[in-house]
């Protein structure tokens, strides 16, 4: 998904008016908000949205300076690695393995609550997850669990078709090995 669409989705999610979202002359996403206030850069825009929002996700994301720093690093990770890396076979495989490993120890990227870090990675990895076969999804079970948990929320899926993570069909041919 392109940056402009993702910023709009995340603004919806936070219940904030996105303002005018466009690409500037460097092809970087820019937000013109209230009072003609111009903010440039995906991560910086997400921070500006969080400050304006009263939603739980926004409050979680700025709960403390430590949380804020970690949220920022995951947003940057989404921009530099998840988004562009998803289109590369080698990088995407490593990304899936790393994120799956991470989610074996925790339910969210930062702390024990949903933050903008999760949202940024969620929207950046959507196309890659969509391309996975059911067996792949089984292999990345922890990542799949996190993704499925997030996509179930109406404020996150925003009417998009939900991806299928059901594993029941596997019982038919691999009953013994199914975990």
């Amino acid at each position: 998904m392109c940056d402009v669409a993702t910023v709009q989705k995340i603004a919806n999610c936070l219940g904030v008016a996105p303002g005018e979202i466009q690409l500037n002359d460097e092809q970087v996403v820019t937000r013109i908000g209230a009072q003609n206030n111009r903010v440039t850069g995906f991560a910086t825009i997400l921070e500006s949205l969080a400050v304006e929002s009263k939603s739980e996700i926004a409050q979680n994301s700025i709960a403390s300076p430590e949380v804020q720093a970690q949220v920022y690093q995951w947003i940057e990770f989404a921009v530099l690695y998840v988004g562009p890396g998803s289109k590369d076979k080698h990088v995407s495989k490593q990304l899936l393995a790393d994120l799956n490993n991470l989610f074996s120890r925790k339910s969210y990227l930062v702390g024990h609550f949903l933050t903008l870090g999760d949202l940024a990675v969620f929207y950046a990895i959507g196309d890659l997850i969509k391309s996975l076969s059911p067996v792949d999804k089984e292999n990345y079970l922890n990542l799949s669990r996190w993704y499925d948990h997030l996509q179930q929320r109406p404020d996150i899926h925003q009417g998009e078709t939900l991806l299928n993570f059901t594993t029941i069909y596997l019982h038919n041919w691999a009953t013994g090995t199914h975990l």
């Binding site: 002359d25 460097e26 092809q27 970087v28 903010v39 440039t40 850069g41 995906f42 991560a43 910086t44 921070e47 300076p65 430590e66 804020q68 720093a69 970690q70 920022y72 690093q73 940057e76 990770f77 921009v79 530099l80 690695y81 562009p84 890396g85 289109k87 590369d88 080698h90 990088v91 490593q94 990304l95 790393d98």
Partner: protein, 203 residues
């Protein structure tokens, strides 16, 4: 704090310079991600703060340690991390990774810096901010400005920042000659930032 980085990684200099600037003790530990001890690290450099928190994004660390410098510093940090760093890695790549398309993209970014520095003495305005340290450290390795022309403002700013005592102190531990953008490849398991498509500006 502890700075985990791999040998030659120019991003490590960004963090070392910041620590010297803030007069914070920092322990530089050069490691490799193939070492099983560090299998949980995703990106190098990673900083472990005194409270145990580990962060791998240099911009996040800059913002956390220097919170009061807000706008427009924050935008410059993001610009440096997401536009300038990948362009430099593409531009400085050698051998089969060399990318001839990177030159014009980098030139446009460098020109923007020079334009900014033609109207203000520092990147984010009249005062030195951490944006200057952040961007200077990226441009520090030899050859980053070899293709740039008519960038006198940038050159004089470069020399001004380089002369700062804090920067000189950092360079004693990580000399410019030890740094190479090729080292970014070993800074993660994704092969550096080669997968990042360069954004070609319209202007």
């Amino acid at each position: 704090m502890i700075l985990f980085t791999n040998e030659g990684n120019p991003i490590g200099l960004q963090l070392l310079v910041l620590a010297k600037y803030l007069k914070r003790p920092i322990f530089l530990q050069q490691i490799t991600l193939t070492d099983a001890k560090f299998k949980d690290l995703i990106l190098l450099p990673t900083v472990e703060l005194d409270n145990g928190l580990r962060l791998f994004s240099t911009a996040a660390i800059y913002k956390y340690l220097l919170m009061y410098e807000g706008y427009p510093r924050n935008e410059w940090l993001e610009w440096g991390a997401t536009l300038l760093t990948p362009a430099l890695e593409h531009y400085m790549a050698t051998g089969h990774r060399a990318d001839s398309r990177a030159g014009p993209v980098l030139n446009a970014l460098v020109k923007k810096l020079d334009d900014t520095l033609s109207v203000s003495p520092f990147i984010a305005g009249d005062k030195l901010t951490s944006a200057d340290l952040f961007i200077w450290s990226l441009l520090a390795p030899d050859g980053t400005l070899k293709g740039a022309q008519n960038v006198e403002h940038l050159h004089s700013w470069y020399n001004k920042i380089k002369a700062l005592p804090e920067v000189q102190e950092a360079l004693k531990e990580l000399p410019i000659s030890s740094l190479s953008f090729n080292a970014l490849q070993q800074g993660n398991r994704y092969g550096g930032l080669a997968h990042v498509q360069l954004r070609r500006g319209i202007s």
